[in-house]
Amino acid sequence: MQKRAIFGGKSLPYLLLLPQLFVVAVFFYWPASQALWQSFLLQDAFGLNTSFVWFENYKELFEDTGYYRTMLTTAVFAIMVAGLSLSLALLLAVQADKSIKGASVYKTLLIWPYAVAPAVAGVLWIFMFQPSLGVVAQGIRAMGWNWNPLLNGNDALTLVVLASTWKQISYNFLFFLAGLQSIPRAVIEAAAIDGASPARRFWTIILPLLSPTIFFLVVVNIVYVFFDTFGIIDAMTQGGPSKATETLVYKVFFDGRLGGNLGSSAAQSVILMIMVVALTAVQFRFIERRVAY
């Protein structure tokens, strides 16, 4: 059965598309093209003189060891947040999927962190972990560990990883739970009769059947780490100490907004844009094929 509207001419469909196209053009294509254009320009410090420099901004960027360090930080950050939030969310979802008493309350509570804005989440966590005032930090320091995310880069990175993971778990949990609930009970029961232990059932039946969900979430989580953690980082560490928590998107903000180097900042956004386009392409290409069983 076809659910397709048939139009007489071409003008009405175009007219109907116009609002959407307008929104996309104004809010997506126009800024993107501006970024692309900016990335070819070089401005003096006062914004009085602008010259077209072709790929000079890119060249400079790729000759800067600081940029590679930021890339590495971002990669480490992404792997840790995605890895942690996915595995913890899966663990929680598997527990919630068991028909236990109060399951719905448990599920509802788990979803709450997702409703907290990134900046607020960052403030919450810094309150807890601020070395001299934070409740948790005092506990850690009392145990003899010199915890100081304001001075120690690794501590700072750990802290933003924890905060970002905490915020993302809810989202992953929701998808995992839906994925688990879509696995027919009978399949699990059949495996139980077939002599598979609970652990073996998880690895040989449940996990493969969840693979489309996992793949989708990996991509979404990477995009999350790339962009949405900005608020958390800005509220907690501002990329510091000494750039230990500076991610690609934070560097875009730092160099452009604070450093006033609009050309380099634009070039960085273009690179980020290309990365996300590539990720999305991979997702669209593979989600139907390799992963779908």
């Binding site: 399949v187 029961e189 495996a191 009769i193 002599g195 598979a196 039946i205 693979s211």
Partner: protein, 353 residues
């Protein structure tokens, strides 16, 4: 192969719902036993308790010489075929069948041998490398049975395995299951709500209703001598005609359709009773007998169903489709005395001695 023995099995769910109430049943070694009943009668719950997928609230379940109440499904030496097949969607047909054997650490050559044998038996050799989604419903059903067969279990459990198939395929698969059972001779317990499946497959039919067993017997026995009004109305299509009656003298019961003879040697009855007559046990007569006016005639090809009333009780008569019958024209019917069933008005149990 083994005998399955259920003694005073009860299942009460956490919410207090009694799904199975005090069921005792013996499934002899090698028998094909069908649990038959309407949905919600507890037949699937009973099967799942035998499989170990539901806990048993009270009573004992024995498979062979072993009480299995506390034994994990994997260790009960049973195999189950599910209604929706429950194949592992990410595994090939081969892996689906081999999974249970691999889990038990069977050597590879032995697994291969068993899977291939089962595949030949079920005519699915050419699909071994396919994924379940690339198979038709009937093929999936075969794979599900293959998965059970390779295990060579003591008992086969079938949970409405045919109800997801279309009508034509259901008939074919029914025959194949029967053939397979004749060949393997394994103890089988089969759950269905379809009386035709039950009658054709079983050598022992267990009719269940609201968590209790109404009757256990061979298909013919259950059909000819229903132990209760429920069994009488559940088995047979169209359903048995039921009407009120009063014993007026030994061997004669007065019904809305007039005085009918019954087998006084078989039934001990007096006073008010419930009278049951199967539509196919009522015949047309040239004269005498009972007066009947068909209001509606249904042609079924080989037979013809006449709908009318005895007094105010609706009656269905099934007669061979020969000659002509006119709607709204009075005719005479004769009723076979041997076919008249009598039930207790209050309890619904058969009044047979």
């Amino acid at each position: 192969m083994a005998t399955v023995e259920l003694t005073n099995i009860k299942k009460i769910y956490a919410g207090g719902v009694e799904a199975v109430r005090d069921v005792s049943l013996t499934v002899p070694n090698g028998s094909f036993t069908v649990l038959l009943g309407p949905s919600g009668c507890g037949k699937s719950t009973l099967l799942r308790m035998i499989a170990g997928l539901e806990t048993i609230t009270s009573g004992t379940c024995k498979i062979g010489e072993r009480v299995v109440n506390e034994i994990e499904p994997a260790d009960r030496d049973i195999a189950m075929v599910f209604q929706n097949y429950a194949l592992y969607p990410h595994m090939s047909v081969y892996d689906n069948m081999a999974y249970g054997l691999r889990n038990r650490g069977m050597p590879k050559p032995e697994i291969d041998k068993r899977v291939r044998e089962a595949a030949v038996l079920l005519a699915i050799e050419e699909y071994l490398t396919r994924k379940p989604r690339a198979l038709s419903g009937g093929q999936r059903q075969r794979v599900a049975m293959g998965r059970a067969i390779v295990r060579e279990p003591q008992v086969f459990l079938f949970d409405e395995p045919l109800s997801n198939l279309d009508a034509k395929l259901r008939v074919t698969m029914r025959l194949e299951i029967k053939r397979l059972h004749n060949r393997l001779n394994a103890t089988s317990i089969f759950v269905t709500h379809d009386q035709v499946e039950a009658m054709t497959l079983a050598d022992q039919v267990v009719v269940m209703n609201s968590g209790r067993i109404e009757q256990i017997g061979a298909p013919g026995e259950v059909y000819k001598h229903p132990a209760s009004r429920f069994v009488a109305s559940f088995i047979g299509s169209p359903a048995m005609n039921l009407m009120t009656g009063k014993i007026v003298e030994p061997g004669v019961v007065e019904t809305p359709g007039g005085k009918l003879p019954f087998d006084a040697k078989r039934f001990s009855a007096s006073g008010e009773v419930e009278v049951g007559i199967r539509p196919e046990d009522i015949h047309t007569a040239s004269s005498g007998g009972t007066s009947f006016t068909p209001e509606l005639v249904e042609e079924l090809g080989a037979t013809r169903l006449l709908h009318g009333n005895f007094g105010s009780t609706p009656i269905i008569v099934a007669i061979p489709a020969s000659g002509t019958v006119h709607e709204n024209k009075e005719m005479r019917l004769s009723i076979d005395a041997q076919a008249v069933q009598l039930f207790d008005k209050a309890t619904g149990r058969s009044l047979a001695r």
